[in-house]
Amino acid sequence: MTNAVSLTALEKVYQGSATPALDRVSLNVPVGTIYGLLGPNGAGKTTTIGICTTRVRATGGEAVVAGYSVREHPTAVRRIIGVAAQALTLDRSCTVRENIYFHCRYFGIGRHAARERTDELLERFRIADRASAMPMALSGGLAQRVQLARAIAHRPDVLFLDEPTAGLDPQSRLALWDLVRSLKADGITVVLTTHYMEEADQLCDRLAIIDHGRLLAEGTPAQLKSEAGGAAAIDLALSGERAEARNALRAIEGVQEIQDTERGLRILVTPERSGVPRVVAAVAPFGLTDLRVVDPSLETVFIALTGRDLRE
């Protein structure tokens, strides 16, 4: 088995919804990697994780996790996976220690072994001093660490993390990245979702970019960046006539693509920043009021693929 997760033409249409949340997504997560699902809100990331973790029923296609079909062997899949949901799902009636301890017990681990495992994880995740705190009293970063500790307490082979760093301060985010890397070093395959470009770029070995339920691109961060041809994106805010600005831009060497935005136009240019002065000169007569340059990165890859900024 070389793939920890294998999705084939996966499709999900929620009840009462006309558009599919997932539209024939196929991808493979190699064993031992940190795999990122990158996309804006509503892209279908949580739905994908939901199907892989047996919480959401696919309406088409197939998902195989650690060799088991989630449709046919959900119980076997649940034994092998760990899950940290997007929302904090810690048991609010139980302390931090109890959250981890009872999780072990739910997985059939005996009392003694569960206690030992809990102590070990409290130490490793540096939450021992808050062991008797209730989850509501924890900061976001700490709660996320507890959730992560709980997710791996039964020693899963594949770990699913849905937006593990959403809403965390930069320091907590870096600390969480280190934890995720250490889990990978333990041999756990990690599938995580994110809408942070830097996270996708620096933490993930491979990425799938999804939007509107569709898989747009897949590969290592380096591959994806080179596929976009090293283009920079330039956002132009214009007060004047856009059609004429378009014509003026089209004549410039290196301009690959011109997209409409709310405030004006966005263009992709190669090579990188050297095209900026020519672009500025070309659109200056059309009421250029603002300009932003996005260097070649996953962000420009995303812009090239979707015509949208992840932040929009």
């Binding site: 959401v56 649940r78 109890e98 017990r105 739910y106």
Partner: protein, 268 residues
């Protein structure tokens, strides 16, 4: 990597230990919730009303109104506790916090969590019956005539009544949002108590035939009547078979509906 074989029973024990830990922490509020209603009822009906010259007439051969109250109030305590024990936390755990998810994602059939909830809710129901019983025997200002006329009937009723209450709690807990809990008490539980043959035996409703038929939908009627058979056989009561069969039917139906509702809520 080798994986531990699935151990359903160990997992269920884990679910119960978790519920027991939470119950221990909330021991005092639990106790107060259970005893407040019977204490006040006994105080008003066997002390305040008789003292203020308002005797409640009772059927021939029955020693006192306090005697009529014993099975009724034990049934109310068991049912209320079992329903609340399951419905209140479940409604929240299934809501925005999705706290239930960690338990649902354990490697067991999806019915495991609701099954464990019913068992533990029923256990709390029996516990509250046991707490309330001595209060009803000792505190009333008037004489109480209670004897265990049939142990098998008593045990059967304790099990069936608490199971039915917990199953109803599961059903309600999966069907209502946390914001609607107050409404549930007002339009489901309070009418059940007042129309549950708690303060009067079912036979006495023969004076109001339509009502006597309508209340047959109410599980509390069978709990109270069944406990009358076991504890106060001199008070008029239904046939034992009717109470057992009806509770069995209600418990099984509500359990099935509750488990189905639960699975609907946790799987999209």
């Amino acid at each position: 990597m080798s994986k531990r074989p699935p151990n359903l029973f160990a997992s269920i024990l884990g679910l119960w230990s978790r519920d027991a830990a939470v119950l221990r922490r909330e021991g005092l509020p639990f106790f107060l919730r259970v005893v407040a209603n019977p204490l006040l009822t006994v105080f008003v009906f066997t002390y305040v009303l008789p003292r203020s010259g308002q005797q409640i007439p009772v059927a021939a051969g029955v020693t006192s109104f306090a005697t009529v109250l014993v099975p009724g109030l034990v049934a109310v305590a068991m049912m209320f506790t079992a329903i609340s024990a399951v419905a209140l936390p479940l409604s929240i755990e299934l809501g925005a916090t999705r706290e239930i998810e960690d338990r649902v994602l354990a490697p067991n059939p999806l019915a495991t969590v609701p099954f464990a909830k019913i068992c533990f809710g029923a256990f709390q129901g029996i516990l509250s019956g046991a707490l309330v019983f001595p209060i009803l025997l000792i505190l009333p200002a008037t004489e109480v005539t209670v004897r265990v006329a049939s142990w098998p009937m008593l045990v059967t009723m304790l099990l069936l009544a608490s199971w039915t209450g917990a199953a109803l709690g599961l059903f309600l807990g999966t069907a209502i949002r946390p914001q609607q809990i107050g409404l549930m008490f007002a339009i489901v539980l309070t009418p059940m108590v007042f129309l549950g043959c708690v303060y009067y035996p079912w036979a006495s409703l023969s004076a109001i035939p339509w009502l006597q038929k309508v209340v047959l939908m109410n599980p509390l009627v069978y709990m109270a009547e069944g406990l009358r058979i076991a504890l106060t056989p001199d008070v008029p009561h239904m046939s034992p078979l009717a109470t057992i069969l009806m509770l069995l039917l209600l418990a099984m139906t509500l359990s099935a509906l509750g488990v189905r509702g639960f699975i609907r809520r946790v799987v999209d």
